[in-house]
Symmetry: C2
Subunit: 203 residues, 2 copies
């Protein structure tokens, strides 16, 4: 007799694997139920409907991803190192997580450049906090140039999304990896506090 709350990890795993293999449309509620050794009727005791099952599953996977990056970042103290670790560990994580990668290929809209239509906006906001805190710390320690932290966070997160799209949605694996290193260098160069001069007039 397992407690309701104890069932969710297995539920999310079964669900993620099926959605990864067949996509949202071709995965039936019964497929998921059978994989969990239950009937589809019973699955509705755990989730409201198919759509929410899907979204909760993805949200769970994205949250685990974010937590993993957070842990890696917290091991460093220097903001420059934190920035680098954030970028590298985020990419390394998904590199190892095949089901999540597959789900993204089947449903490219999971990664969107449009915050307005981001179904996982809440989770992504939480991920952005990691970046934002690094920038804040860097600015406070005068290691990064004085900036509008929220805007720079939004921009860099967009660039990160762009890479995820290029690498995993479009599967330009090899070329994207190289570009990622180039981008990391260029952006870190930009963040570092070489000068206090403003380079572009405020529009």
């Amino acid at each position: 007799m397992t407690l309701k709350t104890e069932k969710y990890p297995a539920l999310y795993q079964a669900s993620l694997e099926l959605f990864a293999d067949f996509g949202y449309r071709k995965t039936t509620v019964e497929d998921v139920a059978v994989k969990l050794d239950m009937t589809k009727g019973n699955l509705y005791f755990y989730v409201k409907n198919k759509k929410q099952l899907y979204e909760q599953t993805i949200t769970h996977a994205l949250t685990q991803w974010k937590d993993h990056v957070k842990k890696a970042v917290d091991k460093k103290s220097d903001p420059v190192e934190k920035f680098r670790v954030m970028a590298v560990s985020a990419l390394a994580y998904i590199e190892k997580n095949a089901p999540l990668r597959q789900v993204i290929i089947k449903d490219p809209q999971i990664f969107t450049l449009s915050p307005r239509e981001d179904r996982f906006a809440e989770t992504n906001q939480a991920a952005m906090v990691i970046l934002k805190d690094i920038l804040k710390q860097g600015v406070a320690q005068k290691k990064f140039y004085p900036m509008d932290v929220d805007q720079v966070t939004a921009y860099l997160f967009s660039v990160y999304m762009m890479f995820l799209i290029k690498t995993y949605v479009n599967a330009d694996q090899a070329s994207s990896k190289k570009l990622f290193a180039i981008a990391l260098e260029l952006n870190l160069r930009g963040l570092l506090n070489h000068t206090t001069d403003r380079l572009t007039p405020i529009v």
Copy 2:
């Protein structure tokens, strides 16, 4: 009696306007022919088929865009100024070109982050040359840091594409404009030759 070659400017204009208003599917070959005061049979004297009519029309519009930016850039001599003018004039041009903007909204795939499936790759390659030449000049004059110009060009062009998608495909107009200024500053800061130290190890 107009010469065949003289008809193309009017042809591309009529075609662009119709595709802008109705999109590829809802624009008929007859619509275009009527707008040019000819029959659809005769339109086939000028273009191979509907798909090519569409692609030639977009290519023509994108090429004009590129030429406009090139002209603006050529008026400056300093690579930093060139970089800024390139960014600003590119955005200003499309801001004024309503039909091109509309066509992009109707067919978001015109701007893609995937070079492999870019139907207008050739035209975009030509546009990248402008950026590449600016970077080359900046590096040669030691104003920009020593870099792999091809890779940095590819990265910055991706960022540019990302902005076009965010601003015109996703219509996050207001917020994207601000981010563009932020990005311009951050990237120029990164390009400038403050140090010769490598910030990230080569992967």
